[in-house]
Amino acid sequence: MKAFKKHTIFFLFVFVNFLYAGEVYAVLQCSLAASCNSPDVVVFKMTSSSNSHAELPTENNYSQYVCCGGVNGLSNSCADTFEVVLRLSGNTNAHVEENTQTTAAYNGNDACLSVSSGDVSIAYQDNSCSGYDTTIASISGTPTNAHVGDANAYTRKVCGTATGATTGVGSSGVVKPLGEALRKAILRIADFNGDGRVDIIDLSILLYYTDLPGYGFSFYDLNQDGVLNFSDVSVLFFYWTAFR
């Protein structure tokens, strides 16, 4: 009978898991490691997991890497949509400060996280990173001239959240290269001025007719719902993104 109970519990567990299958959502994940698994990115490097100096990912003096991943289009460049994770006092052998600080000696040595499309946010909280995806690191003091450590080393936590690309052609939300046939089909309906592109000129033309009720609906009504409104503009934006 004991074994029966065991089996029942096991199958209930399987059932509950089934219900929640596929509900693991992409979130930013960071950890300290000796190397980063592809496609994770190195945010910065440290000498050890606590009481450490830091260096930029481009330097090669330290063996402990702060690796982040789990989000589409994540990068450590300070471009696109980016946030400064920590400001460093130099390229290497550096102290760190929070990104709200403006110490002149720390200018130009930023450790960043960025996404090609989406959003990144960084914050500094005491004790935990509640409300954020992950604890990227921790720092010894606040808000400047600090040493760094892994997520557990200090009470002052460096917290991060990131979301990746969400628009474009394809159900996965990732922009896929357009085939020639698809390209031609899109141009046929959305390239209003016939210049071989879907861009701001087509937007201007569509908006003009959106403001003229009763005119040319069938031609400019991209989603064919009988109304010219923001939905048609959204379809145009979708094609515009796909053409980039």
Binding site: V14, G22, G118, V169, F192, I200, S204, D211, F230
Partner: protein, 305 residues
């Protein structure tokens, strides 16, 4: 000499006579050089460590309905903090104001109602001053399109803005405290959100098309979450349009204004919900059959012993 003068006069008269029709019918640019201006308003002298806000403005004599603008600023002296579209003439953004490369802010949008006149506010940009000196904000691109149904680009000129960055504690007021997003904005109206699930006619991709607006304080962020089964995904930031999450039967979109007010819109797809209910029921049946088989197995074993 007199003859030469006469000949010269004759040549000039002839030249004028020949050229006049060309001058008269020479295609004029869509507008004169003075007809469309882009400029900055506000933010002239600011102390280091403070936040200043400048408005991106347009004056135009001709109705316009789309703009593609790039603004450059010295990234070593200023840190871009946020943009605010409260009261903007832009009604739909293709690309909200954001830093694309360090020192460059790009924005692209359109207007359902064309704008014509003076003082059209496009957006406001807030920067924190990092170092002393002088910062020039300028337009590296300002493509403005006429609301004429042809997408004609209008001739526009722009004026840069020079901001003096001075020592903290000088006569310039420190705006650090008052510049927190939404802190000084009186806004007691919830943002408005409209959301549609649409399908594009070529790739047949389902899209969520939405329009969020707040005329008092502006929209700070739009976020989406969805349910594929019984639990919501975390909220994530989206811009219109977003690909409808595959397999989701419910989505919620929330618009957060700069004053912190939140408006949520939701949408359900019954066919997806029925699919999930059916699969859950099927899983229950499979579980019941398995449990029954196990019970029988143990009963048989018991009988045998």
């Amino acid at each position: 000499m007199k003859k030469n003068k006469k000949q010269l006069g004759f040549v000039i008269v002839c030249a004028l006579f020949v050229c006049t029709p060309f001058l008269a019918f020479y295609p004029n640019p869509v507008f004169s050089a003075e007809s469309t201006y882009m400029y900055f308003a506000g933010g002239e002298t600011t102390a280091v460590g403070s936040v200043f806000t400048t408005e991106v403005m347009i004056d135009t004599e001709e109705p316009v309905n789309a703009l593609d603008v790039e603004i450059t600023y010295p990234a070593d002296k200023l840190k871009f903090l946020r943009a605010n579209d409260a009261g903007s003439i832009v009604s739909i953004w293709q690309s909200k104001p954001a830093v694309r490369t360090p020192g460059t802010i790009q924005l692209t949008g359109g207007m359902f109602k064309p704008f014509q006149g003076k003082g059209g506010r496009i957006t406001s940009l807030s920067f924190r001053v990092e170092t002393l000196g002088e910062a020039t904000l300028s337009f590296s691109k300002h493509n403005i399109y006429a609301a004429d149904g042809k997408g004609t680009e209008v001739f526009a000129s722009s004026l840069p803005s020079v901001v003096a960055l001075v020592e903290k504690g000088s006569s310039v007021p420190d705006t650090r405290e008052t510049a927190v997003a939404g802190a000084h904005i009186v806004d007691d109206t919830l943002p408005s959100v409209v959301m549609n699930r649409i399908q594009d006619p070529i790739t047949h991709t389902y899209l969520l098309a939405f329009d969020a607006a707040d005329h008092e304080s502006g929209i700070r962020e739009t976020q989406l979450r969805f349910k594929k089964w019984w639990r919501y995904s975390p909220w994530y930031t989206v811009e219109n349009p977003v690909v409808y999450p595959s397999g989701a039967w419910r989505v919620e979109l929330r618009a957060i204004s700069n004053a912190g007010l939140v408006q949520t819109a939701s949408l359900s797809v019954p066919t997806e919900l029925y699919k999930k209910l059916l699969l859950s029921a099927l899983a229950l049946v499979v579980l019941a059959v398995l449990l029954r088989a196990i019970t029988r197995f143990y009963n048989k074993k018991k009988r045998m012993t």
